[in-house]
Each structure stands twice: as C-alpha cells, then as structure tokens.
C-alpha cells in the first residue's frame, strides 16, 4: 500500500532528482584561449614581446595578404605591422599600379590571391635575397627583391588553374613550385563540360626555374597529372632533396553538378601526396621528351616514367611538410584526427622495389604500409606542420582550434602514440597555417611560433562585420607552449615566413652611382636637364622632384595629346619620398629617393589641373605643386 503512495510524487522525482547534479557548463573566459597561467606569466609575456621605442625586432615576418593581393611585413616579437608590399593589387600608398612599369606588370588584373610566401634558400637556409608569392586566382607567381622590398616580376604560366601549391623552393632555389588546385580542361582554353571532368580535366604541377644571379623566373617544366585538387606543397632537403611534394584531395576525380564537392571529394578514405623528382623532370625536358601545350613544355607520366609517385594519405589532406633534416615527410588529412609521418628512406626503397599498390594515369601509388612511419593522434582537423629544430613538430588543428606539439621519430616499437603528443595550446580561433622562426629551413630557431587564425571574433575592438584575421605569437622555447601576443591583420594571411632580421640587408636610397641599381635612362638629376618635348601628338616630360618643388612645374599640352612624364626623385637622403598626383587624372605615383618612374596617359580632359606632392616631405611640402594645362 505504502508503495503506491511513494510512487505518487514520481513526476517530481523524475526531474527534481536531476537538479544540481553534474557540473554546470563553463561560461565566459574559462576557455577563452587567453594567456595561460598566473599574473607573472602574463608579465613575462608582455616583456617577451616588448620592443622598446627605437629598438628593433629579431625577425621579419612576411604574411601573405590573401585576396588583398599583397604581402604584409611585421616584426617579431613585437608583431608590429611595418609595411605592406603590393604584389598583385594596385596600392596607392606606394603608387604601385599607377606608373607604366607596375601597370604593365599587373597586366589585365587588378587583384590576385596571394597565399604562400617562399623565401630563397642557399643550402637549405633562408638567404634573404628574394621572396616569392603565388597568385591562387590567376596562375601567376611573383618575385620580390628583398634589397628594396619591391615586386620585380610577375610570371603568368599557362595551363595552371588556381595556383595554390606554390611557392615552395628547392634548397638551393633551383626551382619554385606551381600547381593546379582546381583542374580545368587541358590544355588551357579547351572547352569541355564538367560531365567530362574525370577524363578531359587535368591538373598541372610545374617547376619554375630561378636564375641564380638575377632571380628571374622562367617556366622549367610542367607535368600533367590526374584532375585531383593539388593543394599544398613542400620541397625535400637533405635525403629528400630533389623532390617536390604536393598533397591532393578529390582523388574521386569528379565534379558533380550540384553534388557539393565538399561531399563528393570526401568519399574515399585516402587521398595522396604527389611526389615529383624535379631533376628527372628537367632532364626529360632537356632530352626533348616534353610536348608543347599552350607554349609550355609538358611531361606526361604515362609516357615518361620515373617522374612522379603518389603516396596514400588520410583523406582530404592539406599540408605536407618536410622535417628540417629532410627525412620525415609529414602529411595531414584534415578529416582525420591523425598526422602521418613518412620516411623518405622507405619511400626510396619502395620506389626501388617497385612496391606499388596501383598505378593512376601512369603514376605509381606507393604501398602505404611500406612507406608510413607512424600516425600521430594530434587532434581534430590537422592542417599544417612546422618544426622547431629540436626534434618536435607543431601541427595546426583547425577544428579543435589548437596547436599540437609532438615528437618526431624515432618511436618505440608498439608504443601508444598518444604519448608523443606532448603539449597542446588553444588558439583563437580556427587556425589555418602556422609558422616557426626559420621554420621551412634546415635549422629552425625553435623560439617563436605564430598561429595564423582564420577567425578572431571578440578578441579586438569591434570593427563591424568585416572582422580582421588574427595572428597569435606563441613562445615555443620551453617544454610548454605559451601564448604571448595577439595581432590582427587585414584579409587574409594564409601562410607567413619568419626570417632572422640580420639576414636581410635592404637599401634605403637608390644611390645615383650604385652599380647595383643602374640608372633609368630617363632619369634627370639637374633642373637644367628637365624639359618638355613635343613629337607630333606626344608630349614627353623629363621632370625632377626635390624639396620642395617639381621642375618643370607647368606642363602645357593640347586636349587628346599623349603625355609621358618621367619623374626622378633626386633626393639621396633616406625617407625623403615624393609623390606626384595629378588631380582628376587618377594619377598617383610615389618616387623613392634616387628613383625614376614613368607615367603615360592621354590628356582627354581640357582645363587646368593641379599636380602636387602626396608624400609629406618637408616644411614647405604644401607648396610643392604645379599645373597641367590642357588646352
């Protein structure tokens, strides 16, 4: 009887019994990813990043600017943004894309998508000579001279569609890579429906030759490969020297209209790393074994063997990264919670033994179990790996918003691999790439790591919906990683490189008599040499700029004349820049000390137009002006 009564309040028990048991969800800053630890650790972090006024940073950081088409230069450890190097996009701040030379270099494009900076190397060490950067949008590659931090060449390469697997350099800067991320019908310009994706569409990987003296880039070879999406790459060094590696996804080799590539490209459990022997490729081209398509020498693995191999890797990989000693090839399948380590010695052995699982379009697939060293359970969404030179690797975890630190081989046989993941630090938020100091070289410095995060929500003063990206400086000098500093950039760094400041030796003035910087034939250094000459309907002006006037300061033309202005900044004092803006003619160039620039335009509007110096130069900067008279 009593039991019946006890059962009565069941409704209350059902729920009230639950109240208060279990722990409450954490809220607020508990997992905010802020600096770990005590107040004194925060003070340490502040001191570690403080570069006193007048003092200089230890490292240059070159961020790619993503679809801004630029490169951002910052100092480490202060993380201060110092300069922007315009590459694929006009940049009024330096007059880039307004004068004839840079306008011609940009060609028909007013933007590019700069993704992965690559520093020139000598013996696998950054040598501070050139910086390369790819344009993911328009099949281009650019070179910046680190003597004056200016873009010197933009190379457009045929057949490559969405050049993502770029720009990775061989250890002596023999080659820099390019690769197709989004396959299109081959050769370039061919029309074929996406229903023919698997057969007519092709990927291309390419080696771009670098002139060892001038840095001038030219196309060395292209290899036509199956229409997978070639993603990221790296160059071998030491025992893996001579090889380029690229990850690829969508080995399903299909693009189904309305089928969502995110789904169709995620069906197979394994995709691949493509490995290319670049010396063999060059030899094959030299031996005349390439066929020319769209002007490019193209090798086909179906007819030329010994060029390329596939290494199976956990599905939908992003990064493939070669350890500093060149032995370990680290690949991360972003949909797998592990990062895979391959041994170049085992790879070479498998190639020698013909230990292949299958062959795809003439490219042998190495037997996974023969070449794999280990799978490291780093965490969710591993993307990209960097190294500290002390035997550890650091893998970015996009899904988990963290960086995992793990030990490189050797490992104990049969050991629980979890023990080799030695530390993990949360980042804010959704990290893409990461970079360590001199991380792609043979001898990383092992002190700083920067997490390049895709999201920064709430970590800075709000600036509305167009939220900047975040870069977090992390101290990796000790056993545990420590977050030091949050920095924010404009869209959108994909990768960055950190090079010791003393490796770069920039000039700050183009010296008039410096043989390294030959004079522009149209330079004018004296007022008496400045002049205006008319030839038919062309008016050519040789102008100079100096504090605080232009000579000539009046240019008279007729409406419809073609006007060519060469302007030389004859200053030889550093930081004495002058600008030349012509109002209402959309002309804005900036001339550095000792530099000459040319701008050509048609005087199609009649009237009187002032021109003036845009770059503040002196006490009488406001007086530095003249007139363009268009009759």
């Amino acid at each position: 009887m009593r039991g019946v009564l006890v059962a009565l309040p069941m409704i209350a028990l059902l729920v009230s019994g639950f109240v208060g048991c279990g722990k409450a969800p954490p809220r607020g800053g508990a997992r905010g990813g802020g600096t770990r630890g005590t107040g004194s650790e925060i003070t340490d972090a502040a001191l570690a990043t403080y570069v006193a006024p007048g003092d200089l940073d230890e490292y240059y950081l070159f961020y790619s600017g993503g679809h801004s088409g630029q490169i951002f230069v910052a100092g480490v450890p202060s993380m201060r943004h110092i300069a922007t190097i315009p590459v694929f996009t006009p940049y009024p701040g330096t007059g880039y894309g307004f004068d004839d030379e840079t306008r011609e270099m940009l060609g028909e494009y007013s933007w590019g998508d700069s993704h992965h900076p690559g520093l020139s190397e000598t013996d696998g060490e950054y040598d501070g000579r050139w910086l390369f950067i790819n344009d993911n949008a328009n099949g281009r590659l650019a070179r910046i001279d680190l003597r004056d931090f200016k873009t010197k060449q933009i190379l457009k390469v045929p057949n490559i569609s969405a050049n993502h697997g770029s720009s990775f350099l061989s250890p002596n800067s023999e080659y820099v890579t390019m690769a197709t991320r989004m396959s299109v019908p081959f050769p370039q310009g061919t029309y074929a429906d996406v229903t023919d994706y698997g057969t007519t569409y092709k990927g291309i990987v390419a080696g771009i030759k670098i002139d060892p003296d001038s840095g001038e880039m030219s196309l060395g070879w292209e290899i036509v490969v199956p229409p997978f999406n070639y993603d990221l790459g790296d160059a071998g060094k030491g025992p893996s020297d001579g090889y380029f590696f690229w990850t690829c996804y969508n080995s399903e080799r299909e693009f189904i209209e309305g089928g969502k590539l995110e789904v169709t490209a995620s069906q197979r459990d394994r995709d691949y790393i493509l490995m290319v022997d670049w010396r063999a490729a060059q030899q094959a081209v030299d031996a005349g074994r390439a066929r020319t398509y769209a002007g490019a020498p193209v090798l086909d693995p179906d007819t030329v063997s010994g060029l390329a191999w596939y290494i199976p890797l956990a599905k939908s990989p992003h990064g493939v990264d070669v350890s500093p000693d060149g032995r370990w090839i680290v690949g991360s399948g972003k949909l797998s919670p592990t990062t895979t380590v391959f041994d170049i010695e085992k790879i070479k052995q498998a190639i020698q033994d013909g230990d292949f699982e299958e062959t795809i379009d003439g490219i042998p697939v190495l037997t996974y179990n023969s070449v794999r060293e280990a799978e490291i359970p780093v965490g969710l969404g591993p993307l990209h790996t960097q190294f500290d030179g002390k035997g550890y690797a650091y893998t970015s975890l996009f899904v988990e918003s963290a960086v995992a630190k793990w030990k490189l081989p050797p490992y104990e046989a049969g050991a629980d691999m979890n023990q080799y993941v030695v530390d993990k630090i949360p980042v804010a938020y959704n990290i893409g790439h990461l970079v360590t100091a001199e991380g792609d070289s043979r001898s990383p410095d092992g002190n700083y790591l920067i997490a390049l995060n895709k999201l920064s929500k709430g970590r800075h003063l709000s600036v509305g919906p167009s939220i900047p990206e975040s870069a977090q400086l992390i101290d990796i000098s000790g056993d545990r990683m420590n977050l030091l500093y949050d920095a924010f950039t404009e869209p959108e760094p994909h990768y960055a490189l950190m090079i010791r400041a003393d490796k770069i030796d920039p000039i700050e003035v183009y010296r008039r008599d410096d043989p390294e910087w030959p004079q522009n034939p149209d330079a004018t250094w004296a007022v008496e040499d400045t002049r205006v000459e008319r030839r038919g309907r062309t008016v050519e002006v040789w102008m100079l700029a100096v504090r605080s006037f232009f000579s000539p300061d009046v240019i008279r033309v007729n409406q419809g004349d073609r006007v060519i202005i060469h302007v030389t900044n004859i200053e030889q004092t550093r930081d004495e820049l002058h600008g030349l803006a012509i109002n209402d003619y959309n002309i804005n160039i900036v001339i550095d000390p000792g530099e000459t620039k040319t701008v050509t335009f048609t005087a199609d509007k009649s009237g009187v137009f002032a021109f003036y110096c845009t770059n503040f130069c002196s006490a009488l900067h406001q007086e530095m002006q003249g007139y363009l008279l268009v009759r």
């Binding site: 009565l8 209350a12 800053g29 949909l335 899904v399 804010a428």
Partner: protein, 220 residues
C-alpha cells in the same frame, strides 16, 4: 479485499479541503508560464565559440540562442558529420505536448473546483506517464539523429547519442544538456499537487490520521 485497501479507497473519495483546493488551483496556474519558458537547454562549448551555442527546447518549439541563430549554426556544423537538420517539423512532440499540458491544466482545475483526492491521483498518474513518455520521446529523437548519419558526409564519426541529461564530448564540442525553467515549474506543479493531496489526506486531531499505520476502520 483487505481492510487497508478499502480504507484507502474510501479516503480517496474524500472531497478536497479549502487549503488543498487553493494549492491545486495554484498548481494549475503554474502551468501557464511553462508555455513561455524552455523545458530543456543544450549548450555546446568549443574553443572557437567562446559564448557557446545554445539550444532551448520549449514545449512547442526549438529555439536557438543568439536570437535563433545558434540553431542554424548547430545545423551547419552537424551537416559535416551528416546529421539531419534539427527542425521543428520533425519533432511531432512539439505539437502534442502543449495540448497535453493544457489537458492536465483542465484536469487540475477540475480537481480544484469539484475534485476529491482521487482527482489529484488521476492527474498525477497522467502526469507521470506524460513526463516519462516525453523524456523517452526526446531521447529517442536525439538518438535517432545521432545514429542515422549520412554515410556520404565529409566527416566520418561513429554513431552516437547526444546527451539528454548531462555532459558529453562530441567532436570538438563539450555538449551539456540540462532541464530548464519550465521543467522546474513542473516540479513545483508536482509538489503543489502533493501538498494538495496531503492536506486533505492528513487531518490533524482525527483518530485515523494515518489509516495505514493504525489500520482502524470506520467512516468519519
């Protein structure tokens, strides 16, 4: 039939005292705000969601936090693992639960107005069944969602049951699932009914104050 049982049956026919009626009427009133408060709350915490994502289950709707957007966000995230979209249309519970709460309210009011102890007992039994069935139904739905993942999804995860009560790690998310205000109101409702029951059952000063223990017979 035992004497005790007969006694209880007899007592259950006892009309409610004024005090009990007030408590039972209050219980009925307390059901009104349950329509405006969530029954359950699921929170999803991850590094890149410093404010967390919230999902509130009302008797009649699913409502995401952040002005509803959290539900959209949860569905966007779930699509990677191939979980079907959480949508109100798929929760038929949200159609019948408000109706049942209303019916319970009417029964409770009836008990308050003209009822005996038996009326309260009837209401309670229905409530227990209703609460049990609702919880089971909720668990069954979540289980179904977690166990029927699209095999073509980009991210392969082992089928799982999202937590109905308590904590579970799902991918990078810590998922917390707990009752919310409306459920606590139901607890209060149950306690008020119990109170109403007690104050009619228990008559201080009367001999057969506890018919079970005393075992005494006879009508008062």
């Amino acid at each position: 039939m035992s004497e005790k049982y007969k006694r209880i049956i007899a007592i259950l026919d006892r009309p409610l005292t004024t005090r009990s009626r007030i408590l039972v009427a209050t219980a009925a009133l307390i059901l009104i705000p349950t329509f405006f408060a969530p029954l359950w709350r699921m929170s999803f915490m991850a590094q890149q969601y410093p404010e967390g994502l919230d999902l509130y289950i009302y008797s009649h709707s699913l409502v995401g936090g952040d002005q509803g957007n959290d539900l959209v966000e949860i569905n966007v995230l779930n699509h990677y693992i191939g979980m079907a979209e959480l949508s109100e249309e798929d929760f038929s519970e949200l159609k019948w639960i408000p109706l049942v709460i209303g019916l319970i309210g009417v029964l409770t009011l009836r008990a308050a107005a003209i009822g005996s102890l038996k009326s309260i007992l009837d209401t309670m039994v229905i409530c227990i069944y209703f609460a049990g069935f609702s919880l089971w139904s909720f668990w069954y739905k979540l289980n179904y969602y977690g166990k029927h993942l699209d095999p073509r999804a980009a991210v392969e995860v082992a089928p799982f049951t999202p937590p109905v009560f308590g904590y579970r790690m799902v991918g990078q998310f810590e998922v917390w699932s707990y009752p919310a205000l409306a459920t606590y109101l139901f607890v209060a409702f149950g306690l008020l009914l119990l109170g109403g029951f007690w104050f009619t059952w228990h008559r201080p000063g009367e001999k057969m104050l506890d018919p079970i223990r005393t075992g005494s017979g006879g009508e008062q």
